[in-house]
């Protein structure tokens, strides 16, 4: 072995099942076990440990496909894309895309979006603290300038749009949920927001207009502009009830005039 770095690369390749057989030559051949057996223990530690971490981060995806399928898919993912961050909270950022292209999961076209929702959940869980706006916050602005108000989203707020009822699937397949009711995929897509107004992460599906409205606000558009965008997509969009919902849902932390 030419250097410590080459040795560690070979051990990495062995751990992620990418060859790396040259590592065995560097392992002392002592006592009862061969170098290959000793390295095998570390391969198990790497792949099983990371696999368990993926299970913990994607409990709904896990429940949808079962442990055996999930573990196989997780292992293939880890071998294809070894993690680059020791924070387990960031382990599966690329997992949804991998799931979307995983041939054996092609029969579950919603699976990748469910995994995407779980990535958003993990983001929201670890996001920075911010106090949500109190429901009466908009009353403090002069009525004639209300349309100019700009809102700051909670750091936890994320949007997941799917061609499948992704929020319904997520809610029905929580680990404590005994027997999920059947969800018709023909019911159409869902647009979900994921956020953490306090200690608990919330997942909620929104209508087309509301989703567009909230997303526009989250990107810094004024109430007027966001409303116009929502009306263009959903002509029956009702501003006042949506504003009330928006404030009681506590997606935003700050309101200000530009």
């Amino acid at each position: 072995m030419s250097s410590l770095r080459e040795l560690q690369r070979a051990m990495r390749d062995h751990a992620f099942d990418r060859g790396g057989t040259s590592a065995t030559a560097a392992i002392a051949d002592v006592h009862a076990f061969s170098p290959a057996e000793r390295l095998g223990i570390h391969r198990n530690a790497t792949l099983l440990g990371l696999g368990m971490a993926l299970r913990a981060s994607f409990p709904v995806t896990l429940r949808l496909v079962g442990e055996a399928f999930f573990d196989h898919m997780a292992r293939d993912f880890l071998i294809a894309a070894p993690p680059r961050d020791p924070r387990m909270s960031r382990l599966g950022l690329e997992f949804p895309a991998f799931v979307g292209g995983y041939p054996a999961a092609a029969g579950l076209p919603y699976l990748s979006d469910v995994a995407r929702l779980e990535v958003a959940w993990t983001h929201a869980y670890h996001a920075a603290e911010a106090a949500p706006l109190p429901p009466e916050a908009l009353l403090t602005f002069p009525e004639e300038r209300l349309g100019e108000v700009v809102l700051t989203p909670l750091p936890s707020l994320r949007f997941v749009a799917s061609a499948y009822p992704v929020a319904a699937i997520w809610h029905a397949n929580q680990p404590h949920h005994p027997e999920p009711e059947a969800i018709s995929l023909d019911a159409g897509g869902e647009m979900a927001v994921v956020w953490r107004p306090g200690d608990t992460v919330r997942v909620q599906a929104l209508g087309n207009g509301a989703f567009t409205f909230v997303m526009a606000l989250a990107t810094g558009q004024s109430l007027d502009t966001a409303w116009a965008g929502a009306l263009a997509l959903a002509p029956d969009f009702q501003l006042i009830p949506e504003l009330q919902a928006l404030l009681t849902a506590r997606w935003f932390s700050e309101a200000r005039l530009p």
Binding site: L4, Q8, R12, V30, A32, I41, A127
Partner: protein, 290 residues
Amino acid sequence: MTSPIFTLPARAGIGLKPEHVAGLLEARPSLAFVEVHAENYMGAGGPPHRQLATIREVYPLSVHGVGLSLGGDEPLDLDHLEALAGVVERYEPEQVSEHLAWCRIDGHYLNDLLPIPYTDYSLNLICDHIDQTQTRLKRRILIENPAATLSYAESTMRESDFLIAMVKQSGCGLLLDVNNLFVSDSNLAIGAEDYIAALPGEAIGEIHLAGHHLKQIGNAEIRIDDHGSTVAPEVWSLYRDVIARFGRRPTLIEWDTDVPDLEVLLAEARTADRHAEFASLGGHADVFAS
């Protein structure tokens, strides 16, 4: 001899688990300290930080890093070092520790604490990385001995000699994991008694105790460190030897898989205190032999 470097009370503490936070805050049992893995608190906010901030007001804190890869033959991950510094600055723990191990190469993270060969090259490498870490954190850190199932043909030093040289060269302290030492000795016959006798006791700032399991491979059994059960009798025995020789130290009960009820952890911590008290009074080990 210089005074011991430990900065936590020299009694037993436990690893902090989210499911135990409510119970700890309610009953506030007597514990020398709690220890957390730094990597679990590198997010910006959320329940983990809310819990730790509350716990930190009640108990002394040890921050234990598992992802810095001090023994990796590549530059330290500066983002990760900054994240560790962020946790240390946020909670101002009494103690910070990391591992004599590598877990990352070419930016790929293995989620496993692998031993390194013990050579002059790796000694300089890890001492440079410890120096960089201690400089950034503005404090001395403790380095933990690995639980090894393999060793390297190119090693030119025993692990204990490597630790002694590392302490001397980098100014770090030692976190002596007695379970790891027993596992390594059982798997690789490194000679636990001579190992302990060789260590500079004043550098030992903390002790780890945990469970391990036996794995059958072919016709033989190998010991795997898994932090998933009670401390083995042989490990208690080694622990008493360490305390009898060096005096009492802050001692962590680690339990990271199949985490039991808080009561079980607290009982194990009390057992550790009983062993330590007994050993420090010069008592004979047979009392605890059963």
